[in-house]
Symmetry: C2
Subunit: 342 residues, 2 copies
Amino acid sequence: MPLTLEDIARLSGFSRSTVSRAINGDPNVNEGTRKQVLEIVEQLNFQPNLAARGLAAGHTKVLGLVIPMGVNAIFTDPFFPLLIQSVSSECNVHDYSVMLWLAEPEYERRMISRMMYNGLVDGVIVSSMMMNDPIVEALVKRKLPFILIGRHPTNPNISYVDVDNWAAAKVAVNHLVELGRTRIGTITGPQNMIVGRDRYQGYLDALKEHNLELDMNLIIEGDFTASSGSKAMKKMLSYQPDAVFIASDAMAGGAIHALQEEGYTVPDDIAIIGFDDIPSACLTIPPLTTIQQPIPLVGSVAAKTLIKMIEQPQEEPYHIILPTKLVVRSSCGWQKEKTDVS
Amino acid sequence: MPLTLEDIARLSGFSRSTVSRAINGDPNVNEGTRKQVLEIVEQLNFQPNLAARGLAAGHTKVLGLVIPMGVNAIFTDPFFPLLIQSVSSECNVHDYSVMLWLAEPEYERRMISRMMYNGLVDGVIVSSMMMNDPIVEALVKRKLPFILIGRHPTNPNISYVDVDNWAAAKVAVNHLVELGRTRIGTITGPQNMIVGRDRYQGYLDALKEHNLELDMNLIIEGDFTASSGSKAMKKMLSYQPDAVFIASDAMAGGAIHALQEEGYTVPDDIAIIGFDDIPSACLTIPPLTTIQQPIPLVGSVAAKTLIKMIEQPQEEPYHIILPTKLVVRSSCGWQKEKTDVS
DNA sequence: CTGAAAGCGCTTACAG
DNA sequence: CTGAAAGCGCTTACAG
């Protein structure tokens, strides 16, 4: 049987209350007694029962991380692992734990309500939701603090951390234009996700700014998976693009693969620029020029901010935009720097 | 404020006890009253506070999934995402939630003890631990049910689910031998992990069975990352292998990449066989021949078994071995079937 | 089949 | 600075 506070109380000669206060860093405890208590705690490796603490204190120091399974790419795209890892690390630092929910459609409703009510988490991070995801609506009705990864399309009262996908997409397309490309296509992300839309809109606006003709044959929607990138690329080929802005590196990897299969050369025949700068971006042949978004930073900032929202509630929502950066490798025909695999 | 059992009791006209029983499927409840209670529950979308339930009932219906961060590969190798996903799905089916712990070295000790004591999880799944991982030792001391993904090297009382890595590695090497290769190297997994050792031992024994000479220059340890595979491959080249058994597809991907860079042709110059059959195995050029292990099955069986251990405790440990399969593509020079990207 | 009551292991006013 | 006591929201013998 695990030890209880009561045991420590008995062993230390202090009351349960005092022991509890000592453990939780309450300033109203004599340093001497704190030391005594903590020594016993240490020695016996006592850990308070978190369910009990949660009940009594009204918080559990665990965060929920919700990843909707609607997206095919979820577990082929390194985006999510990287995100999970960084959220988890940041939580560790603050002495929080993270509970991962993979929201499968069939279970979603059940999970949503459970999550709201169950008193098991103090707040939740929602990643990459669909535009019409009912989860957000459900969350706003409750008092549970939550933060989105990726801005909310319409409700400005919702906190989020995001990058400026629109501006970054423009940077990507501008890069292509500067290199002399004129028939620039795009393989977009899912248009039911805000991230997919923002990047697409950036593409559109960049084209317009340069007075480049818009050819709908050069615009194909992908779903962030490599295979969708490959398929889209093949379909686009007959319309002779000379460059393609692809909304994720995973899709770009698939596209480059398709191009090779079809006998095209990157970047000579077609320049490719991706988005994300995932670890394997420098492993494609040729290495992928892409937009780097600081995924680990996104995760840690989201966690950090949510914890702040929990511990120091305030009215105004947080809208945090993290920086993005063009990483030039060779898939666009401009080798500024050499990147090593190792 | 979320509703409580008390609210439902008042609203339904029954006692808290009866409501609780109705919700939890206790057979000792009149079907009529159960229906009435459940209707109100449904209508108000009441969800019991899980912290309270955990305290009172002694279980929370949440499982911990521990993934040690010692391994570099953790978030570049699709193995883990696939595993997380399948564990999570299986838990959903059984109405359990999963709590993901990424065990970072610095926090590990703290987490271990917390996990044991905190009453927040009913059991834990430990994935891919190091051979000397203290977590197992800590776990056996407690009453907390747990199961390993990957067999334990020494303690037969510990439950696990695994594949027969040793036998599968032999199958892989045999395949190379059958194709006429004689200077067969290997890039192993970390030798402080049982999975790395088992696959290496299979390689060794296969060589011996075929009376092939053992050349230590053709044996290099990797860490399951693509970049370690690439580096190892380059190092091995000067010793002229004509085939390499690589202990993970992620490393094999890196190795193939390295080979291309160095101007070698796969499989003509060097045949490559991997292990795992991750989704991108058919995306390498040429597509990778590999050993398929049923990662999603491993995850779901682990979860299912752990739940059984929790709900129907028994003395004997579970030792579950899942099947493995040679998938022939073209990286060994034997094209049995064509595999499409899409 | 149902209810009153005790209890799970903590936290936190309240009083001193 | 410390302790006795109430309470967090459930479950579960126990009695009927």
